[in-house]
């Protein structure tokens, strides 16, 4: 029936198809700035031809479906890069805080106070009888001890505050995984009915990207397009549901486990990975080094001090200058702080002798650490510059990964991003198509009129 009705039908379908095209275009324009949105395209296909005596005759256009433009491979790469970038950026953020705690290089920071402390012993060596010189030693010693103590306390506090950070991040992860699981269910349900839920798929990709910034994940899809998200080999989210992560402090470490009392997860990336690295290894190592420096100082100064003599008759001896064992509890011996005559400058008990003061002043350059290859100052300076290197390298790493991510996002946007120019062009095309189809219909209408006129008298 290659009659006018067929042409009318073709015109109707064309109108409908162009309308769908315009609808998709306006959906694209509306979502041009929506994060994670992938542009969509109406898939136009010619409808099945009709066998007529004059051969196969086309029957117009069909809309085969609306597809989103997305490259799964780019998504995978973007997640991998995001995960190591977030890890480095997180570590950088915490290391920067530790670095600012040290406040180096500065005269008022620990390095300057170490110099000041040993210089005060030199001054005492010059004036072993002088109470002003003794008070300077006390003051310098107290400042140094306080500086060690403050550093240790602040870094410990920073570390403790990371516990909250970890639980916040785990809450975020758990929210995301349960959202992902729902979205996945929504997508597969639509799939079962032969529909493609493009917007839900966009959201799922966006959430996966967000999740990759928090924790290292691997994503796999089955034949139905249903995803499984796993971390360190354990599945944490799929259409079947999500497994909540839980963190617990075990001894000196934070352990992230799968579900309540579940197996421990090996978290290696994302912000959570960064925080855990800091909490579980970097910060304890820094604190240990600080303790080593303080401990060596205490032991050596006390050893020399106890062998020396203070002022008085008979001169005091065997008195410790510092109390404590590490950075957290180092303090000037309260007895010495109360009576500066107990400070031992003399090596033989005579008031003018200064050999003990000289020996203690010499501890500044004495190689006591790292197998007698570094002085306390060297050890501390090295610690500070290593910290600086870590800040610098994590910063570089995160910037580098950011640049790679930006490149990937460029590619993603090249595939999925909405170009307004393109959409406007499409709009004009669809509009023209619509006008043309309308013209076809009005032509057929006038043809019908002609026939009607022929029939009527």
């Amino acid at each position: 029936m290659s009659g006018l009705s067929l042409i009318l039908e073709i015109g109707r379908r064309a109108l409908q198809a162009q309308q769908v095209g315009i609808a998709v275009t306006s959906h694209n324009i509306a979502n041009a700035t929506t994060p994670g949105y992938s542009r969509e395209r109406a898939g136009f296909v010619p409808s099945s031809p009709l066998m007529t005596p004059s051969g196969l005759l086309g029957t117009g256009v069909d809309v085969a479906g609306v597809t989103r433009m997305r490259d799964a491979f780019l998504d995978q790469q973007a997640r991998d890069v995001n995960q190591s970038m977030s890890d480095a950026a997180m570590q950088n953020q915490i290391l920067t805080q530790i670095q600012s705690t040290f406040n180096e290089p500065s005269d008022t920071a620990l390095s300057g106070l170490l110099t000041g402390f040993f210089n005060s012993w030199q001054s005492l060596a010059v004036n072993p009888e002088d109470s002003a010189a003794r008070n300077s030693v006390l003051q310098a010693g107290t400042q140094l001890a306080q500086s060690f103590h403050t550093l240790s306390t602040q870094i410990t506090q920073l570390r403790t505050s990371l516990q909250t950070d970890v639980s916040d991040k785990i809450t975020k992860i758990n929210t995301l995984t349960s959202q992902l699981s729902q979205l996945d269910l929504q997508i597969t349900n639509a799939q079962a009915l032969g529909r493609t839920d493009n917007d839900a798929m966009d959201q799922r990709d966006e959430k996966l990207q967000e999740l990759s910034g928090l924790i290292n994940i691997q994503v796999s899809y089955d034949a139905r397009g249903s995803m499984t998200v796993s971390t360190g080999g354990s599945a944490i989210a799929s259409g079947a549901g999500a497994v909540a992560l839980q963190s617990s402090v075990q001894g000196n470490q934070i352990v992230v486990g799968l579900g309540a009392g579940g197996p421990a997860l090996n978290v290696t990336g994302g912000e959570l990975g960064g925080v855990l690295t800091m909490y579980n290894s970097t910060i304890p190592a820094t604190l240990t080094e600080l303790d080593q420096a303080a401990g060596t100082l205490i032991t050596r100064v006390n050893q020399l001090h106890q062998a020396g003599y203070g002022l008085g008759t008979p001169p005091s001896t065997g008195v410790a200058f510092f109390t404590g064992t590490g950075a957290a509890d180092i303090a000037v011996n309260a007895a010495v702080a109360a009576n500066s005559n107990l400070i031992a400058a003399s090596g033989d008990g005579t008031p003018g002798n200064n050999t003990t003061a000289l020996a203690i002043a010499g501890v500044h350059t004495e190689k006591l650490m790292n197998g007698n290859s570094a002085s306390i100052s060297d050890f501390y300076n090295n610690m500070v510059s290593t910290l600086g290197s870590s800040v610098d390298s994590t910063d570089n790493q995160s910037k580098q990964q950011q640049a790679v991510l930006t490149g990937l996002q460029n590619q993603q946007s090249s595939v999925s991003g909405v170009s307004l120019d393109e959409e406007m062009t499409n709009l004009i095309t669809f509009q023209n198509g619509y006008s043309a189809a309308a013209k076809v219909i009005s032509t057929v209408d006038s043809m019908f009129q002609t026939i009607m006129n022929m029939v009527s008298p």
């Binding site: 041009a32 300057g112 010059v126 005579t350 008031p351 350059t365 090295n382 500070v384 290197s389 062009t425």
Partner: protein
Amino acid sequence: MRITQGRIVADFLYNLNNTQNRISQLQTQLSTGRRVNVPSDDPEAADMILRLNASLGRNEQFAANVDAAQSMLSTTTSALDGVQQLLGQVQSVMAQAGDGAKSTSLGTLADTMDGILSQLAGLANTQFDGKYVFGGTQTQTAPYVLTPNAAPPPSQTVTYNGNAGVIDYPVGEGQVQQANVTGQTAFGGTALFDTIIRVRDNLRAGIPPAAADETAVQNALNTVLNASGTAGTIQQSLDATSAQLTQQHTQLLALRSVHQDTDVASATLNMTQEQTTLQAALSVGAKILPMSLVNFLS
């Protein structure tokens, strides 16, 4: 490659942010005058700066120690100069006593000797900054005490309460300098005083000084001169050390400046460049970003 508006905006922001970061960094460098403000700015330089700061601190302390040693030694040498003059007087008194032609009675000369003796004792107990300089490490007790003898002769005995203790001042890395002259070195312990007491006692008893006494005084004078010479040599060497420390200080400052300070010329130049980049970016952004086909469709 398909370029989308969203991408142009994101790229623009990313690059703008990078430029502003660099500007902020340069601004910090220029406003603090320091290239390295935190260790991460340049970890190796930070290590050097910390070392140099310690060296500078130690250098300044050594310089202060040298100054203290100089003061201590100049007090010592001026006391020794006084002792030399007094011994000269002792010699002239002894010459007068030996010269029969002189009319001055031996008793008067004995009184003069007595005055000299107490001046000598005063000089031998010279204090600097609360310390007896000739007492060795016994700096808190007067080293020379004259006490009347219950069973003369001699009429007075002298005790040396000091010791032979050396007081070393740190004046450089691994370098110490003795800053004291003990009573033993300067006066041969109590020898000088013993001689003068004996001569005085003899004069009072009407006995002129013997040749052995003159030799003893000459020996004492030589000892003092030696001690004074040694102190002078130490002072000279301290002057050299001080000059060296000052030179080191200048070098350390220069070296620290190399590691720590902003190269103002190049930082300013970079800043100008970055500013130009920023202006260009903003101006291009203002022109490109609002544009799309929409603007041209009626």
